[in-house]
Symmetry: C2
Subunit: 354 residues, 2 copies
């Protein structure tokens, strides 16, 4: 396998999608540019990640003025123009659709623009003109009402990436990385759907990405149990012995540094966290409760297993606070930095196998 | 209702049970006495809680010497002797059974002694000669193998207290209180067993205890959802609309300050925690994951709804580290202090209604 001839990913800008325009996506995009332009990151010896929005420049300019964010907006035609513009303004590739911003009230007329923003981002990473995709939150209910038949970004991106990709969601904060094996299903469906194969594949994809995208060689994986006290030897559930322990054994036989299944309640305090690089969790809240308890604002949602890099802030459209200027850009900053760091690692990794 | 003539609970000692002698119970009891004897709590302007063990004095003395804990042990005959002995030694009411301590290896011959210690504690609180029971961890598997047909302490104490008591488990740390509505059952059983009535009764018992035992008037209760994103309007589970929201409504109509159901992953970060006094959770790990993530060592298990006070450290027998001297007494210290504080509040509360 050779990746010779690939672009140097880390020199390319990141593509930031619009997300639901009635939510906080535009506001946090503008604030993220302002943050990086003020170079508050100099102390950490890091240059800011260069990104461009795929959005309506008019809408963003109006939002910047109305919320007094002070971020200048500059339309660009190609991603290649982003780097030179970024020093002075937020570069925006126009969508070619009119977009109405009505904070808190999603307008179905904007749906083609919401989807076009994602599609453009996919095209640009596939053409190697963007290093990765950072997605602003979409409003699933609004989209599904309009016939968008995907649970969310992750499923849509997986299909657009070729269909065969098994996308795995990882949530990462500075202190903790978690991967929920089952995701956006009811808790009873999560239990019903859980299989040994699913756990094993999630582990394999996770470990491959931690190595390629995060520079962690031989990552340490822990696997959480499903039931309280890890089932206490079958007294409180049999999934540990029938499904999870066999998965752990199979993962181990694949050469991965793995332990578990462990009672989930004792896995996430600081001392336990120091023993692993990522925790594989059996259901959404088992992963998200500890992550958001440990760090509510700096969590990043990362899609592993796609042929391109994709991150997003770990929050929703927050339509209840949209349009007021109070939204926190912290999670988006973390998503942008994480995508940038992944591009650097992936680039290095690819060169080393070239 | 009048409680005139009741003893002043706060002047009575606490009864600490032996727990599984192959675990860390003896070690942490000795260390707890040492901690309080060193009066490290003086800075917090609190006198130490006076307690006595119901255990084998011989076994504890041997353990104190072997692990170099330095805690003198003094047999007493009645709880009334505890206060005067406590200044110089750990007071111990002998069990009248020989007890072998074989760290890490539970001996079924000790089971009558394990149960006798609990039974004696119950008798002493019922006779108003102890202010509350603090239980050291038992080894459920060992006990159930010997025909002890209870899931654990809580169920046993509820039955011994009269059978009609609905015991509710609360876990408390300085930063967070949680009540799991379903407890020691598999996750699929927890979902299957969950009812509106169960949630409402748990809320009522919890609120009554927070008022009586913790001095919190009109406590603020939040209720967690079961499914990810609180079911997202029925797209990921119907328990929120069918079971939990009706419970919240019924609780509210009962005059309790309650909100929810809320997505569980956003309930436990510091800013969210400041909005409530207790979180009602739908299953064991939903309560225990955030509690142990926030504070692994100082959590206390409190049984609400019993006619007497009962707390315990929030850990198991820890037989893997028993007999080595490395066990932490922090959770037992918290359990003893919490029981003492509850006795003070309950006393005050009873006097105010007398």
């Amino acid at each position: 396998m050779s990746f010779k001839g690939e672009s140097d990913l880390s020199t390319l800008p990141l593509a930031l999608t619009m997300g639901e325009p009635a939510g906080i996506g535009g506001e946090i995009a503008l604030k993220a540019w302002r943050h990086f332009s003020q170079k508050t990151d100099r102390r950490s010896d890091q240059t800011p990640p260069v990104f461009f929005s795929i959005d309506s420049p008019h809408r963003l300019e109006e939002l910047s003025n109305r919320l007094d964010i002070g971020t200048p907006v500059h339309p660009i035609e190609t991603p290649e123009q982003a780097a030179s513009v970024f020093a002075d303004a937020l570069p925006v590739i126009p969508l070619g659709f009119p977009v109405t911003t009505n904070p808190g009230r999603p307008n179905p007329e904007n749906i083609p623009a919401v989807i076009a923003s994602i599609d453009n981002a996919i095209r640009l990473v596939q053409e190697k003109r963007a290093s990765g995709i950072v997605t602003n939150p979409i409003h699933k209910k609004c989209l599904s009402g309009a016939g968008f038949a995907y649970l969310g970004h992750t499923e849509y991106l997986a299909e657009r990436a070729g269909g065969s990709a098994q996308a795995v969601m990882m949530l990462a904060a500075p202190e903790l990385r978690v991967v929920p094996v089952t995701v956006h299903v009811s808790l009873s469906d999560a239990i019903r759907l859980l299989t040994t194969e699913m756990i094993v594949r999630s582990a394999q994809i996770t470990v491959a990405s931690l190595s390629l995208d995060f520079g962690i060689q031989n990552p340490r994986l822990v696997v959480a149990a499903l039931n309280p006290h890890a089932g206490e030897g079958g007294k409180m559930g049999c999934e540990e012995t029938e499904i999870i322990a066999p998965a752990v054994e199979e993962i181990r036989q694949g050469g991965i540094n793995v332990t578990g299944p462990f009672a989930a309640d004792s896995l996430f305090h600081p001392s336990a966290r120091s023993d692993y690089d990522v925790a594989l969790c059996m259901y959404h809240d088992q992963a998200l409760i500890p992550l958001k308890t440990v760090d509510f604002e700096n969590g990043v949602n990362i899609t592993l297993g796609l042929p391109f890099i994709r991150t997003s802030p770990d929050h929703g459209t927050a339509m209840d606070i949209a349009g007021r200027g109070g939204a926190s850009e912290l999670s988006l900053l973390a998503a942008l930095k994480t995508a940038r760091d992944m591009a650097r690692h992936r680039n290095t990794g690819l060169q080393s196998v070239a």
